[in-house]
């Protein structure tokens, strides 16, 4: 077991290192001219070269790589993602302020989605062919792939503009409210830590619609997978045999749940990785200044350090999630080790 865990963590590190390199080279191999974008296409060669030098782009690609990775003592390996070419501020701090907003949104959406989807999935698996099953099947298929940004707009139109039961999509708090002091960066946690109950409820008020929008999209595939996985286990030989050998209902329910879990967990992990980057559009619609919005600005400005930073952070978080998932699966299923 220990050797499996160590090996898996080692592979995770290799992947992270591979990603750092891929990100670095892919961006530089594409035919874009960030210097021209920065100084304008009509600038004199002098200005152009000066800008190029100040960004460090006149050095060889290997020196730039060393600088990025941190062979001079400060770089990715020390947690320093460099300085934004556009604003001059540290990418690490930019990521650090925006990431919690995204994580908070995505995590809460997952909690809501799972809380809705898993019970529905279990209920449909128990009564296959029933009314609930048939309608939920269509929903699972439908919600699995939908333009969430458009649904978000429609929800805003309906819940805010028509019904008035949601706030205007203009950020995490009412414009006039003072934000709680930053401690963790997660506004819901910070407001509680600083005793700002008003800010806590105000943030929830602003978050409910984006969370519902994401949960609406996410619950589709999770329902589908839960139903499929439960049905597979319920029809398995070993559950049948457990019933035939007189085990108690509680024991059988526990076995069923355990055996249904791995595919659901795997799917959730994949969706989580997908959503970290995919929340971009929802953040944009609701003017939440998260990592997604940060990355849009970085990309549209050809701000290489910021692009590298966001892609790297999101990918590494996904890898960590996959890693945790793999380790959980080993504990659930003894067969995984054997593979």
């Amino acid at each position: 077991m220990a050797s499996y865990v160590l090996r898996r963590i080692f592979i995770g590190f290799l992947q992270a290192a591979g990603i750092t390199l891929v990100v670095f080279f892919v961006i530089r191999s594409l035919p874009a001219d960030p210097v021209a974008r920065l100084v304008g296409f009509n600038s004199t060669p002098d200005v152009y070269n000066q800008a190029k030098a100040s960004l460090g782009l006149d050095r060889t690609i290997w020196v730039q790589l060393g600088d990025f990775v941190g062979t001079d003592g400060s770089g990715v390996i020390t947690g320093d993602l460099g300085k934004s070419w556009v604003t001059g501020s540290s990418v690490t701090s930019g990521v650090a302020t925006t990431l919690p907003i995204t994580l908070q949104l995505v995590l809460l959406s997952f909690v809501v989605a799972i809380a809705i989807a898993v019970p529905i999935g279990v209920a449909t698996a128990k009564r296959p062919g029933g009314k609930l099953d048939k309608s939920v099947f269509g929903y699972g298929l439908f919600a699995g792939a939908q333009p969430e940004f458009w649904w978000a707009l429609m929800f805003i139109f309906f819940f805010y503009f028509q019904l008035g039961i949601a706030p205007a999509p203009l950020g995490m708090l009412d414009p006039l409210m003072v934000a709680p002091d930053k401690i963790t960066g997660f506004i819901l946690i910070d407001s509680l830590l600083t005793g700002r109950v008003d800010a806590f409820f105000n943030a929830l008020w602003h978050l409910w619609l984006p969370i519902m929008t994401l949960a609406f999209i996410l619950s589709g595939p999770i329902i589908k997978m839960t139903r499929q996985s439960m049905a597979r286990v319920l029809s398995s030989e070993f559950i049948l045999y457990s019933r035939a050998s007189g085990l108690s209902r509680k024991q059988i329910a526990r076995s069923t749940l355990r055996a249904s879990l791995p595919p659901i967990l795997t799917l959730t992990g994949i969706l989580f990785g997908f959503m970290l980057g995919g929340a971009v559009l929802i953040e944009q619609v609701f003017s939440l200044n998260g990592l997604g919005s940060y990355s849009i600005r970085a990309v549209l400005n050809l701000d290489y350090p910021a692009i590298q930073g966001t892609v790297l952070i999101i990918t590494i978080i996904s890898l960590i999630v996959y890693l945790i998932l793999d380790l959980v699966l080993v504990f659930i299923d003894p067969r995984v080790k054997a593979q």
Binding site: G129, D133, E237, L240, Y241, S248, I332, P334
Partner: protein
């Protein structure tokens, strides 16, 4: 008349799916009486398994039951799950045909056995664990103390089945439902189990419902026989009566087929030269922990033109590996194969590929052997495309000719294998093997994946082709009665070695090796008047086949042989010629020591 122990009234099993309900068992009435063994036969999909489960008050997900099942004074269909579970696994036990899948893959074996034990007793956790160890020891699992920590995927299918069987019988149930319990077991192990079940029924008055496809099992062990077709029972008869006078179209058909080929094999026109000569073939495989699995140990034999050799053995004996090495689908560690005098082991694979039209093969699983996307014409035609310069018209003619010879309708050329029955699929495989007029064919258990009727038909066809075409072949099988029908010579393999070889008459009339004797005794004849259980037997083998990774020092059979003596475990056995042509790997047989009850 005694009271029935179980009575089903208007029993129906319905599966509800997203696409609507499906009725698998329809309105069945059935009585089972104390102490009787009832055989249930029927085609695949006739609802046998669903009925068997329904008698426990269970339906496979997503199914439900209608009607009544009375067990003593209790009614199982409407009974609360919490009450019914107290009967299941205690008063009524189940054995399924998929032992490994029936165990929970997430729990170790000890936990599973002890959970079932504790569900029906007041035993403590540690007592239950001890019980689990004892149970595993009872079924001959070595090192049971350690094996209870094993997970199901670490057990062999045979081992898992024996664990399930011993669990099912250990609660001394009043009723045993056995759903094709021996389908994955070797013949000698099958015989052990069925004998034990028969004993429990006779001694303790246990009632058994035995679902099977094997007429031999019915004839040898069952008191009554029930036929199921399309979810309904179409015949219930005393077994002797059923065999004498089936009175049912399906029953008549399968009995007729089973009896049709009881004719003697014609002697081939003797020809002296060998078509195949196998010399000292050896093969080992590396397994985990740097251990070595001995698959084939120094096998030699030759087959003369027009003759056929039956290579007989149980799973793990290495018989299939021999076949694959002859075909060069697997390279031997050492040894050689000569085809018609030419040493084909020395050729490069590219050179040998040119010769493949001369040596062909039919595999065990017919569906798996055919490219599922190709119409059968294309599959049969392919060898001609690769090995002949025929025009497409000539090829078409030849394909139709060979299809006709194996009894395939020429209208089916455009069909995909999925649309054909298993028997037809195997005919396609046979046609593909014969289309290039090969000199030699390897038949690797071609009949064992087929349902009984199709199996009987294929044997008749092979016999027919043998006389018409003068085909030479090696027939790999675990089924002695089929070998007797088709082969002039027999070689018996056990754990990588040939233990006895001779002509079919010699081997069947006077088997010398204890293993051959046991194998012959475990053949279940389709005759309720000549039952295995009525005969006195000395030859039964004990326990399980040893692992080919850790082979014993002396005779490989010593651990299971009823005639074992100290010399058997001390010295390795050699294949020795006894009289004429029959050779035996057993010092007792070759030195004419008496086999008796020691």
């Amino acid at each position: 008349m005694t009271e029935p122990i179980l009575e089903a009234k208007n029993l129906t099993v319905i599966y509800s799916t997203l696409d609507g309900p499906v009725v698998a068992v329809e309105d069945i009435n059935l009585e089972l009486f104390p102490g009787e063994i009832v055989g249930l036969i029927g085609e695949s999909g006739s609802g046998k398994s669903s009925l068997a489960l329904a008698l426990l008050g269970l339906a496979r997900y997503p199914g439900r039951l209608e009607g009544e099942v009375h067990f003593g004074d209790k009614e199982l269909v409407r009974m609360a799950e919490d009450d019914a579970r107290l009967l299941r696994g205690k008063e009524i036990s189940l054995i399924t045909q998929k032992p490994r899948q029936s165990l929970n893959p997430y729990l170790n074996v000890g936990t599973q056995i002890s959970r079932v034990y504790r569900a029906h007793t007041d035993a403590s956790q540690s007592e239950a664990m001890k019980h689990a160890v004892v149970l595993l020891e009872n079924v001959g699992i070595n090192d049971a103390e350690r094996r209870i920590d094993a997970y199901p995927h670490e057990l062999s299918g045979g081992m898992a089945q024996r664990a399930l069987i011993s669990m099912a019988l250990s609660s001394e149930p009043k009723l045993l439902i056995a759903d094709e319990p021996t389908s994955g077991l070797d013949v000698t192990i099958q015989a052990q189990f069925l004998d034990r079940m028969w004993r429990a029924a006779r001694d303790r008055g246990m009632t058994v419902l035995l679902v099977t496809q094997d007429l031999g099992v019915i004839a040898n062990y069952c008191d009554r026989t029930i036929i199921m077709e399309d979810g309904k029972i179409t015949s219930v008869k005393e077994t002797k009566d059923f065999f004498a006078n089936p009175d049912n179209a399906y029953g008549e058909r399968i009995l007729k087929l089973a009896r049709a080929h009881r004719t003697t094999l014609e002697a081939p026109t003797m020809q002296d030269n060998d078509i195949i000569q196998v010399k000292d073939l050896r093969k080992t495989f590396k397994v985990e922990d740097d251990k070595v699995l001995q698959a084939v140990d120094s096998i030699s034999f030759n087959i003369k033109k027009g003759r056929s050799l039956g290579l007989v053995g149980e799973s793990g004996s290495g018989k299939t590996t021999v076949g694959r090495m002859i075909l060069r689908l697997l390279e031997p560690d050492s040894g050689s194969v000569e085809l018609d005098g030419e040493n084909i082991s020395e050729l490069s694979l590219k050179e040998f590929n040119q010769l493949r039209s001369k040596i062909q093969v039919v595999f065990q699983d017919p569906f798996d052997s055919l490219n599922p996307r190709w119409p059968i014409f294309k599959s049969i035609e392919e060898p001609l495309k690769l090995h002949s310069s025929m025009s497409s018209g000539e090829r078409r003619e030849r394909v139709l000719e060979v299809m006709n010879a194996v009894g395939l309708d020429s209208n089916s050329v455009a069909q995909k294998p999925g649309g054909l029955s298993a028997g037809e699929q195997q005919r396609v495989c046979l046609a593909r093997a014969l289309v290039t007029r090969p000199e030699f064919v390897v038949l690797d258990e071609p009949t064992s994946a087929l349902p009984p009727a199709a199996r009987a038909e294929l044997i008749l066809l092979l016999k027919d082709l043998q006389t018409k075409l003068g085909l030479s072949f090696i027939f790999i099988s675990h089924d002695l009665s089929t070998v007797r029908e088709l082969c002039h010579d027999v070689a018996v393999m056990y754990l990588s070695q040939v233990v006895e070889v001779g002509t079919t008459e010699e081997i069947f009339a006077d088997p010398k090796h204890p293993y051959t004797k046991a194998l012959l005794d475990s053949v279940l004849f389709h005759d309720p008047n000549s039952r295995r259980v009525d005969k006195a037997r000395l030859t039964d083998l004990e326990g399980e086949i040893p692992s080919p990774v850790d082979l014993p020092k002396g005779c490989y059979l010593a651990g299971r042989c009823p005639f074992v003596e100290s010399r058997c475990t001390a010295e390795a056995q050699v294949l020795t010629i006894t009289n004429g042509k029959q050779s035996v790997r057993c010092w007792k047989a070759s030195e004419n020591h008496p086999f008796g009850n020691s």
